[in-house]
């Protein structure tokens, strides 16, 4: 974000006031639902009433009930395991494929890139039935692999790395080659360290997307012990917990904390990554 000017020359409060007057209430209205979520999760018996929830007293009863309920702890572990696997594979494959495409090292580089852009534009839901059938044929339905393998290589991540590599000077790699380094050594010792910033963006974005993923985990997995948190939460909300708002909001808060923490910690990289991606 082009905040360089803002740091050296901090704008005064006066002219900012006009924007605060209309952006402030708007921001508040966007954040109130989340305040409601947390308040309801902490209030023992507030139903859906914001006022009663805010009045307190607060305790963690709903969170205790949540983790005592069938499988919620397991859902959380599953979400974390799947996210870790998908993010790691995504970063590794995006680095390799993005690098080679950015350097135009394969014949038909243009066509491979076109295929990646086409995949980006394709509505994923079109593939939900055929992917289900392919996984069934591979005997992978209802396994962790079904939650990981189809998402291990991501077109958007590859595209981000490719764009980044195009902007990197090639001289360092050539110098290393002249010194007799192998392709793999050049990649590992010279290229990978340079890719760190873009790989961080890839990791963060693929974490956010994967943690929140719903449709595919819903249809690829049938056993309760393999469910991820969003799916488990959605299904719990359609059982006897359907109007147990304190319980559901405790679950919602738990499901939101990791993504909110990652977002707030890395907001600069996330927003600038999106800004860079959209310009291409």
């Amino acid at each position: 974000m082009s905040a360089a000017g803002a740091q050296s020359l901090r704008p005064a409060w006066g002219p900012s006031l006009g924007r605060w007057l209309w952006l402030g209430p708007l921001l508040l209205s966007m954040l109130v639902p989340f305040a409601w979520m947390v308040a309801i999760s902490l209030a023992p018996a507030a139903g859906t009433s914001f006022l009663r929830a805010l009045a307190g007293p607060w305790n963690l009863d709903h969170y205790v009930a949540l983790f005592a309920a069938a499988g919620v702890g397991r859902y959380l572990v599953n979400s974390a395991l799947v996210a870790f696997a998908v993010v790691s594979l995504n970063v590794a494959t995006a680095a390799m494929v993005g690098y080679i495409l950015g350097r135009r090292r394969v014949p038909g580089e243009r066509w491979w890139t076109l295929g990646i852009v086409a995949t980006l534009m394709l509505p994923k839901q079109v593939l939900m039935i055929p992917l289900y059938l392919v996984l069934a044929r591979m005997h992978l339905l209802d396994t962790y692999a079904a939650l990981v393998l189809p998402f291990a290589v991501d077109a958007f991540s590859i595209f981000l790395v490719r764009q980044f590599v195009i902007g990197l000077p090639i001289e360092l790699e050539e110098a290393a080659r002249v010194d007799g380094a192998s392709d793999w050594l050049v990649f590992r010792r010279v290229v990978l360290p340079l890719l760190k910033p873009v790989l961080a963006v890839v990791a963060i974005q693929s974490f956010l997307a994967n943690w929140n993923s719903f449709l595919f985990p819903l249809i690829f997995v049938d056993s309760d012990r393999l469910r991820t948190l969003p799916v488990g939460l959605a299904l719990l909300s359609q059982t006897e917990h359907s109007v147990d708002w304190g319980f559901l909001m405790a679950g919602s808060t738990v499901a939101s904390l990791p993504v909110l923490a990652v977002f707030l910690a890395f907001q600069r990289q996330i927003l600038s990554g999106l800004l860079a991606g959209a310009e291409k």
Binding site: P123, L127, P230, L271
Partner: protein, 300 residues
């Protein structure tokens, strides 16, 4: 992988390593992209169902004909169209207004950029559960309306208001994301253009009409296409909040697809519906490209 391939000297490295590096994409694209895509096209011409004895038989275009003559399909398509037409103008306008507001430097700019984006990072399941609670009868929203002396509708329980209630949530939750995309477009417009315009005495409004908006056309196109493709696939909201009801008033195409495929196990038929959705998506994206692009000057 490929750590064993060694070859030094060549300034551009070896072909074999290049292919090894590309292989993850080739495998994933083939196995989880191209092959399923072709496979579902083939399946859409059969009556395949895993719960019925015997194999699948070729039925030609019967699945497509069935979809096009099924009132439930048309109703789902109508709901989806209503969703697209009823959300995208609002989301786009709000996102653009927010982007214009948070672009120039002012105190607290980052707070707003980050704050408006928050709904975009939270799971749709969570957003849907929260709004289901807010829309609950005698819930928080009803309380506000009663305090204002209004009679609240039944929201998700009334076929007339259920879909608009979900759409309102979508505008609320999606605007921040498209704000950031618009911001990228705004930051890419060369500063010099504004400097020159100011020298010639152009007003703020004139700068917006003659510089900002025309140069934002490619971004606008991107936002419209991406948001349309996304809106045509609305599913989790419906699954969590209404299960397609009441009276199928919130059954979107993808929800219909899900029920046909994984409740009734009509996988051949559902494949045909998926292909129809794909064709509709392509057609809409194409129309948007044709209408938004030609008048625009060559930007960037």
């Amino acid at each position: 992988m490929s750590a064993t391939i060694h070859r030094s000297g060549a300034a551009h490295g070896s072909r074999a390593t290049a292919w090894a590096f590309l292989s993850p994409w080739v495998i994933a694209f083939g196995l989880f992209g191209l092959f399923p895509f072709a496979f579902s096209l083939a399946a859409s011409f059969t009556d395949y169902s895993p719960i019925r004895a015997g194999g699948a038989s070729f039925v030609g275009l019967a699945n497509y004909a069935r979809a096009l003559s099924d009132p439930a399909f048309w109703s789902a398509l109508g709901n989806t169209a209503f969703f697209v037409v009823g959300t995208i103008p609002f989301t786009t306008t709000l996102a653009l207004a927010l982007a214009l507001a948070v672009q120039p430097a002012f105190r607290g700019r980052t707070l707003f950029r980050v704050g408006f984006f928050v709904p975009s990072v939270v799971s749709v399941v969570v957003l849907s559960l929260v709004f289901k609670g807010l829309y609950a009868s005698n819930g928080a929203l009803d309380g506000v309306l009663r305090a204002l002396g209004l009679t609240p509708p039944a929201w998700l329980l009334d076929p007339r208001t259920a879909l608009p209630a979900i759409m309102a949530m979508d505008v609320w939750s999606a605007s921040g994301y498209y704000m950031i995309i618009f911001l990228a477009g705004l930051e890419a417009i060369p500063r010099e253009l504004y400097d020159a315009a100011r020298l010639e005495g152009a007003s703020r409004r004139a700068q917006l009409a003659h510089i900002t908006l025309p140069l934002l056309r490619p971004t606008l196109l991107f936002v419209l296409v991406v948001n349309t493709v996304r809106s045509l696939q609305i599913f989790a909201e419906v699954f969590v909040m209404t299960r397609g009801g009441p009276l199928h008033s919130t059954t979107t195409v993808v929800y219909y697809l899900y029920e046909e495929a994984f409740y009734r196990f009509n996988l051949g038929y559902a494949s045909a519906v998926a292909y129809l959705l794909f064709l509709i998506t392509l057609a809409l994206a194409w129309v948007q490209m044709k209408t938004v692009r030609p008048a625009g000057p060559e930007a960037r």
